[in-house]
Amino acid sequence: MNRLPGPFDALLTRHGNAPHRLVQILREIQAQQSWLSPDTLSAVASGLGLPLAHVEGVAGFYRFFCGQPVGQYRVLFSDNVTDRMGGSEEMMRHLRHLLKLEPNKMRADGRVSVSSTSCTGLCDQGPAALINHHHIVTRLTPGRIEHMAALIERQVPPSEWPAEWSRVDDQIRLANVKLGTQPAPGAGIAAALARGPQGMLDDLKRSKLRGRGGAGYATGTKWQLCRNARSATHYVVCNADEGEPGTFKDRVLLTSYADTVFEGMTIAGFVVGARKGLVYLRGEYRYLLDALQAVIERRRSQGLLGTSIQGQVGFDFDIEIHVGAGAYVCGEESALIESLEGKRGTPRIRPPFPVERGYLNEPTTVNNVETFCAVTHIAVHTGAWWASIGTPQSTGTKIHSVSGDCERPGLYEYPFGTRIGRILEDCGARDTQAVQVGGPSGVCISAMEFGRRIGFEDVPTAGAFMVFDRTRDMFEVALNFAQFFAHESCGFCTPCRVGTELVVRRMDKLKRGYGSSEDVQVLYELDKLMHGSTHCGLGAAACNPLRDTIAKFRPAYEQHMKSLHFAPGFDMDAELSQARLATGRDDSGAHLETLA
């Protein structure tokens, strides 16, 4: 069938009219047009030969894709609990007030809309905001908000806003291996070449390196399975979808240590026999894209990417960057692969695991940014050296993204086995009530437990370390996390789709003052249900913060209850207001509390 020329033909051609480029295509079009109109989706569907409903389904899945006009300026306030602790909610209200905006609605003149978004990974220099899914504003203050409103009214493009606003600091407070002196570009590859693929793999196994993304799977085993999987094509994927609220270490590694990350990916390509590597960069880190591409380009010119790397004939490997579009669940490796393939980021049924059938159904190893960094250091310094750091079950170091109530937020790298109390001392935390280790899906540690140690055998972590002092209401912390999970649930399975929403509704009821111990009991039951029955880890972890805070900070819940016993979910006296109006009564006998 002949097709009329469409408005995006050049863009689609650049992507080879490939359906698996759909997310990238939609992202680029939205960057030009600020939203995805029905006509746009039709044109894309027709250009790629996809059903329109499929394209609508993909567009509707990602939080950064807008099916409605959002205005010339879309301001998204980062909504992690650390942003809230810095006053982000009040600042968002203030900006809306200044711009005469209603929540989540575009102004009638099409100028601006203001909403919130999940953690943008700037917790150590927040509150933060994301403008038009590209520009970052850090360290928001009421002053900056007033200035921002004026700039928006004067239609100053975000690229011309004060440069100081988009300053993002690494804030490396304590460096060990991965944040310390980096190997010269190519040193890791040379060491791997000298050992050969199996030799490098054996050394990686000796290092006992485990994945830094949270699950802690043995990297050597994963690579071995991928290498063993029979196929002409293998892929290496770097999971840079750093979505766990409170985590920002990968942002720094990609900002200042990209060479080490790409070198680790190249070594992976050498070991598993892949010629192509893909970086899945979360949409919130779009601002890093140009610099990362420049590093890739330089490495090509240095003979560290491309064909015959370091002169080794037959060792070809190159890296491409995909940018996400706002979906926490895509941090799960099979959902990430679905997203790379241009689909809704719903986790796959496993097995088969990605190492057997991953990207485009080919064997794929997906590893975290920090894991690839570790690989480069191991290649240079040997697996035995790495295994000598940390504990027998958790070798090497771990980078912690420290934020919240402390004097010196930022990155801290420690060998595994470090006491939580030690990290609190180093970052200048005082009068600490609790630490959320590993983000909302991790563990909430109370003061009694500060002697526990970081490691897979005690307190595992994907890297977040959020500190709460005694002025904080741990119920509010848990509410923020509950809202996060409901917002990020992919909607695929019943227990997570409905359960996360039920949790938020119960928490809201408690917050409104209508809760009772019965509600806490229901929350407890929902936690139990979701822990066993969800399709993926997001749903399973969604109640972790609830369980921990209910168990360890029950008074924080009880102070939100009218009565420890039954209380109705509504205000009975307020319900009588219509009857009072109809009867024209307002005497003491018409009010429940004064009824004789």
Binding site: P51, G60, S489, G491, C493, E501, S533
Partner: protein
């Protein structure tokens, strides 16, 4: 995952379902093997003609003590599968209550009553009420099609119509849209209406809905209430026929 698991999964064998020995064929899931041998494991998003989806989670069982969805877990020799236990039926009842409260399911006014797998499964499991507060979402009804009615109030997102339209009809009339609690069914047509889609009453996709979301017009009460599929025999007593 170990290499051995895969070899097991690809060869026939037997596993134990609630103490009874079940034969399975190469590559069969626990649910497939159970159904083929006439054993009931509750399910809504699974259908013997279509591949596993794993989204409703009603077929959750314990396999060697570990929880998993029977439709997605491959049968393997020596598995001890618990299915009809108080613990799992309580979990299923909660999942059913969740499905009821997230949509608008008013059985007495629904012409699918008695033929509805959701209603039948809820009766069978002993669900007596919603337990949770109902969400009462605002959802669309699409009566545009001459022969078919789409009532999204009753859609349970099993995606059987999506798969039937893709796998059997080759029309891709349906897709899943949105995310989280706002996940919903999409119609592939320029204006989103069923009348302008390629759907026909004879399509597999128009005849696979387990609930009253996709209905045929003018036949709603051809079979009177009381004489319908699940009125006469509980869902657990009517295990689907599967192709050999």
């Amino acid at each position: 995952m170990s290499t051995n698991d895969r070899i097991d999964a690809l060869s026939p064998g037997t596993f134990m379902l609630d103490g009874e020995e079940i034969d399975f064929g190469p590559g069969e899931s626990i649910l497939e093997a159970a159904t083929r041998t006439g054993h009931y494991i509750p399910h809504l998003c699974w259908h013997p003609e279509f591949g596993a989806k794993g989204s409703c989670r009603l077929c959750t069982v314990r396999i060697n003590g570990r929880i998993g969805a029977a439709c997605t877990v491959q049968a393997a020799s020596g598995q001890e599968v618990q299915n009809n236990t108080d613990e799992l039926n309580a979990l299923r009842k909660t999942l059913l209550q969740m499905i009821f409260i997230e949509g608008n399911h008013f059985c007495p006014s629904c012409e699918k009553s008695g033929n509805c797998r959701l209603q039948a499964t809820a009766y069978d499991i002993g669900m007596e009420g919603p337990h949770f507060e109902e969400f009462y979402p605002e959802r669309r009804v699409d009566a545009s099609h001459p022969d078919l009615l789409l009532d999204l109030n009753r859609c349970i997102l099993c995606s059987l119509c999506v798969r039937a339209s893709h796998d059997v009809d080759r029309k891709d009339v349906f897709a899943i849209g949105g995310h989280g609690i706002h996940t919903h069914l999409l119609i592939n047509s320029p204006n989103g209406l069923m009348a302008d889609s390629a759907l026909q009453a004879s399509d597999r996709a128009a005849n696979v809905c387990p609930v009253g979301a996709i209905l045929h017009k003018r036949v709603g009460f051809a079979t009177p209430i009381g004489k319908r599929k699940f009125d006469t025999l509980a869902v657990s007593e009517q295990v689907e026929e599967t192709k050999p």
